[in-house]
């Protein structure tokens, strides 16, 4: 008699055992990250408090009076002060701000135009990120090769010329450099119209070609000082590294000089460079105010500057918090990344 074929159900592969998960969670790396994140939150609270303090201690414009306008009566200003919550004691305002921040991720509303600070910052982040990431690529692409070439021929004429140019690059004020770039290469007012001029920024999603063209000059202007600085740093690091014993060993193995310099020398010299680059990215994500100003890029940096000029405390707080958060996160990533780059580092 034929029986129904017994269907042997294959046990599905088990997902990572709870034990493995527990191991991952309690690994030293996980604990380290957790500890750092807790500190990060504490740090942001402190930064926030400091911003409040600075705003109230140092003479800045009265936001209620600014909002009320030139002919407003004192009663009206008092009304506005009440409406904005400015009549409450500082610590109460701070407490309310923190509560909104942590419970609702609500950064408040601008005193100027009543727009949500959070939405303003988020709408401006893509521009700042575009500017930062592009500049980083440019300055690393210029700074590292230049540094390597100089290091391989120290004190040669090429080295001296390049390092001299680097010094000029570091010293040139960004704003001035930006104006020169515009007057030379802007498509509307430049002598050699090549790239988008001031105010030509469009989002990447809207017009990729326009986005790129509008950012070329800002990238190079912002990258100049960094490229110069990094070239000098790479040169210094690499010269030091090339004097190390393991370079001698690498040569004694019969490797080509190029391999020795790049695979052995540069690899060791770059570790501190990359960590510093990580920190610089963190700082720039808080907004490169001068570059954004001269090229009229609607980023977070400009927003921060405008809010200071307008004594718009919620916006100031928002930009400061974002800037601090970026720096803290960049620090964390850099510290973890360093362990990946240098196996000798432990937590």
């Amino acid at each position: 008699m034929a029986t129904a074929p017994s269907v042997r159900l294959e046990r599905p592969r088990r997902s990572p055992t709870p034990r493995a998960l527990r191991a991952a969670l309690t690994s030293s790396l996980a604990i380290y990250i957790l500890r750092r994140l807790v500190w990060a939150v504490a740090m942001l609270v402190v930064v926030s408090a400091l911003t409040f303090l600075i705003f109230y201690l140092f003479p800045s414009a009265d936001p209620a009076a600014l909002r009320a306008g030139r002919q407003a009566t004192p009663e009206l200003i008092a009304q506005i002060r009440r409406a904005l919550g400015l009549d409450r004691p500082v610590y109460e305002q701070f407490y309310l701000y923190m509560k909104n921040l942590f419970l609702h991720f609500d950064l408040g509303y601008s005193y100027q135009n009543n727009i949500s600070v959070r939405s303003e910052i988020f709408s401006r982040l893509p521009a700042t990120i575009s500017l930062t990431v592009g500049a980083v690529v440019v300055w690393l692409a210029i700074g590292i090769p230049v540094g390597v070439i100089s290091a391989v021929r120290p004190r040669s004429r090429l080295d001296r010329v390049v390092m001299g140019a680097a010094l000029v690059g570091i010293s040139a004020p960004v704003y001035w450099l930006g104006l020169v770039a515009l007057f030379l290469f802007a498509s509307d007012i430049g002598k050699v119209p090549l790239f988008g001029g001031a105010g030509s920024y469009v989002p990447l999603t809207q017009d990729p070609a326009g986005w790129f063209s509008s950012l070329v000059l800002p990238w190079f202007v912002l990258a100049t000082a960094f490229a110069a600085f990094y070239a000098r740093m790479v040169r210094g690091n690499l010269i030091d590294v090339l004097g190390e014993d393991y370079i001698r060993t690498a040569r004694s193995k019969g490797l080509t000089e190029r391999r020795v310099i790049l695979r052995h020398g540069l690899r060791a010299a770059l570790t501190p460079v990359l960590t510093i680059a990580g920190l610089d990215i963190g700082i720039l994500l808080g907004g490169a105010v001068l570059t954004e100003t001269v090229f009229n890029i609607p980023g977070v940096g400009r927003f921060a500057y405008d809010s200071i000029v307008n004594s718009d405390l919620p916006s100031i707080q928002g930009t400061v918090l974002f800037g601090a958060a970026f720096i803290i996160i960049a620090n964390l990533i850099v510290d973890i990344g360093y362990a990946l780059l240098d196996p000798r580092v432990r937590y």
Binding site: Y246, S252, A268, T271, R344
Partner: protein, 339 residues
């Protein structure tokens, strides 16, 4: 049989801001196949620079190299950098004093050995890896399969030196130059490393140049000994000859200055008086004359030549042979006294 490696009148000087440093000032020596040459001398004697020059690692803009280094019939000093790269690592290999700083800290040990292989042979990565593991096993390292993925800082000093040796010998070179290979290690580990080198040498027939300041190391391993001082070879000969019947005041000083377990406690250590000379302004004539208790007027003005005094024994000293032998008979540490 023609020597495998012959150095003829090698001069190496470096132009520095303080002046011209004559690191190697006329060195001639040779090394036979499978032989162990011990090169002994204090810091600044030029022994490391000589070794580095053999490897072609002193080709710097501020360096002047003169003379000949004939390896297996070819003058290495005449070779281009590219051609020399084929010799380096493959036919002549070198290991260094401090294995922690001499291994790249950011790459795994196995990777560094594989790199050495892949630089000279066209094999697959996997094959190179297997050979690296074999090399690590050959230097008697435990768990070579795990070690191959370790970083240098994860190994002990002795293990690191073994790994360096493995890296140097993985391509079976003709010559291994070991520059102070045991100086940075414990005494017990020292012995193990030296034994390892001896064992590998026997197994693979590698010629070894062992550079050291420690006569004890020489005594354990060398067939032939060359004594260097201030950029020159002052005496060279078979091991027994140098230890038993040395004929250069510097060698006498070296032998006398070794502390011995059987020396009476009250007796003072006997260092060689004076300080090593400046290589920029080397003393005229015999470089050793300012410190030599037996210096004669001509020592100050005339460079002594390396002349053969016995079979296979050369010395550079103006003292007459009889004089030398008489002095040594007086100086030599008497076993009888110790009893």
């Amino acid at each position: 049989m023609a020597p495998l490696l012959e150095i003829r009148d090698l001069h190496v000087s470096f132009r520095t801001r303080d002046g011209v440093v004559r690191a190697v000032d006329g060195v001639s020596t040779s090394l036979g196949r499978g032989e162990t040459l011990g090169v002994v001398g204090e810091s600044g004697s030029g022994k490391s620079v000589t070794a580095l020059t053999v490897m072609g690692l002193t080709r710097l803009p501020n360096a002047f190299v003169g003379g000949q280094i004939v390896f297996d019939g070819t003058d290495l000093l005449e070779l281009s950098n590219e051609a020399l790269q084929h010799v380096r690592g493959r036919r002549i290999a070198m290991i260094f004093q401090d294995p922690l700083s001499s291994l790249h800290p950011l790459y795994k040990v196995g990777w560094q050995i594989e790199e050495a292989i892949l630089a000279h042979e066209d094999v697959s990565r996997r094959a190179a890896r297997r050979r690296a593991i074999d090399a690590l096993a050959a230097v008697e390292l435990p768990n070579p399969r795990d070690l191959v993925d370790s970083y240098p800082h994860q190994l002990s000093g002795g293990m690191r030196q073994r790994a360096m040796i493995a890296m140097a010998l993985v391509l079976n070179p003709d010559v291994l130059i070991a520059d102070e290979p045991t100086t940075a290690l414990d005494v017990t580990v020292q012995a193990q490393i030296l034994e390892l080198i001896r064992g590998l040498q026997k197994e693979f027939g590698t010629a070894v140049v062992l550079i050291t300041h420690d006569l004890g190391v020489i005594a354990e391993t060398a067939d032939e000994v060359a004594v260097m001082y201030a950029g020159r070879v002052v005496e060279q000969g078979p091991l027994e000859t140098i230890l038993e019947a040395p004929e250069h005041p510097y060698t006498w000083g070296l032998l006398q200055s070794i502390p011995r377990l059987d020396t009476p406690r009250r007796e003072r250590l006997r260092p060689i008086q004076g300080t090593p000379p400046s290589l920029i302004h080397a003393p005229s004539g015999c470089h050793f004359h300012p410190r030599c208790p037996y210096a004669m007027p001509m020592c100050r003005t005339i460079d002594p030549e390396l002349l053969e005094s016995d079979e296979g024994h050369v010395v550079a000293c103006h003292l007459p042979v009889d004089e030398k032998r008489r002095i040594w008979r007086e100086l030599r540490p008497r076993e009888a006294d110790a009893a």
